[in-house]
Symmetry: C2
Subunit: 254 residues, 2 copies
């Protein structure tokens, strides 16, 4: 059962056979649900948790798919006892939003992070794992703070990096019409996530600010060091560093 | 006719039908060539230009495929009069080296930069354009310095960025075993070019140092500004900047 704010979304989801049934009425949609999965930007999840929980049946489970988990899990801890909360974050996504872009295959072979609360029962966690496996993902149980630290570097930092690259080209080379013919594969890949949905990313960044800012700072140091090596005449040191990085990249993605 | 340093490469290229004939003997390979195309790392091209030109027939054309052009073109200007030099740089590439990875399709629909010298005749430039078109590319004639400035930001900067990202993850999150399960699509794309051949990249960076260092500096300023917006409480300003960047990314890659 899909719940959306607009009738058009409900109709489209039904037409695309993404849902069996749909409604704009929160109460109606939640009444008989055993599992409720919130899939909106992070701060919308945080705002709606209490209202949603109040409408849920006793013993039902409340999950979310938000990319940052500390603030969500903190808010989940305050929910009434009759619901079982569990944080979730599938490590996949697209730069295209909207129902037309929906594709169940994006979950296949991806890690699905689960961040249980102290109050999360073993049963609820197992249900979350089963749900992740049912869509082809590999469940990975993590503490919410640890997940936010890791994705701060592995997911949110790449977004900041990609945005700064596009901003740099815009500020410098884009004035040259030839730049548009030159922009090639390397730039395309490195900048891809800069096309991500801004509202989604704003919520992610603002609910993980400390970790993202720490990652940006660590990153700037690494880039400065590469710049320092390039401006030096120590080719051997630069070659060692680039070789080490190349080997690490291959180790990450064999 | 392919010329390589090792017999194994010649045999392999022949077996893969990448060449009609091959040799390790420079003189033999060059004797009857109308067009000679150097396709090695940039500083090997620079080192070999004079030796190659001396063995070429009168009136034949000497091209290269190096990613930086200013130093190559400077060296080409000093070649004997009997050869016609022309700088070339196809905007495509792969993170996998070796003959097994050879694929003619990588040139399709890509820009092929040509950097003529003062001495390059109209005839030679037209021949270079025809060659680019014959492999499915779009020729683009540029001054060597202008090309080096543009690719400094659009191609070499993405490499530096990707390397710094891998180095950051290596220095911080990689100590956590969960990081390896989390590393997802965004990180993979943003870091892809960090897997590039180090010898090739060393030559590119060292023959375009001023432009790359300038691009890194401009980039650091853009990233610092994004960090400043994130650490401020001015969400509206950050949203405007990210929206502007998103629109620019979509304009670059519609």
């Amino acid at each position: 059962v899909g719940i959306a704010r607009r009738q058009q979304s409900v109709d489209q989801a039904r037409a695309l056979e993404l849902i069996d049934d749909g409604t704009m009425d929160l109460q109606e949609g939640l009444r008989e649900a055993d599992i409720v999965v919130l899939a909106t930007p992070v701060r919308v999840i945080i705002r709606q948790l209490r209202e949603v929980a109040a409408l849920m049946a006793a013993g039902s489970m409340l999950m979310d798919l938000g990319s940052t988990k500390t603030e969500i899990v903190q808010e989940m801890a305050l929910l009434p006892d009759h619901v079982h909360p569990l944080g979730g974050h599938p490590m996949c996504g697209k730069e295209v939003a909207g129902l037309e872009a929906a594709n169940p295959a994006i979950y296949h072979d991806r890690t699905f992070i689960l961040t249980p609360l102290e109050r999360t029962s073993v049963e609820s966690l197992e249900l979350g794992k089963a749900l992740a496996r049912a869509i082809g993902s590999r469940p990975l149980v993590l503490d919410a703070r640890r997940q936010d630290y890791l994705v701060g570097t592995l997911s949110h930092l790449p977004y900041m990096i990609a945005c700064a690259l596009v901003a740099t080209a815009d500020a410098t080379t884009s004035a040259d019409s030839a730049a548009w013919d030159i922009v090639a594969g390397g730039f395309r890949d490195t900048s891809r996530v800069a096309g991500s949905d801004v509202t989604m990313m704003m919520d992610i960044l603002w609910t993980n600010r400390a970790e993202v800012l720490g990652a940006v700072e660590a990153y700037q140091q690494q880039l400065s060091e590469l710049g320092r090596l390039l401006s030096s005449n120590d080719e051997a040191a630069m070659r060692r560093e680039l070789s080490r990085i190349q080997a690490e990249r291959i180790r990450m993605f064999p």
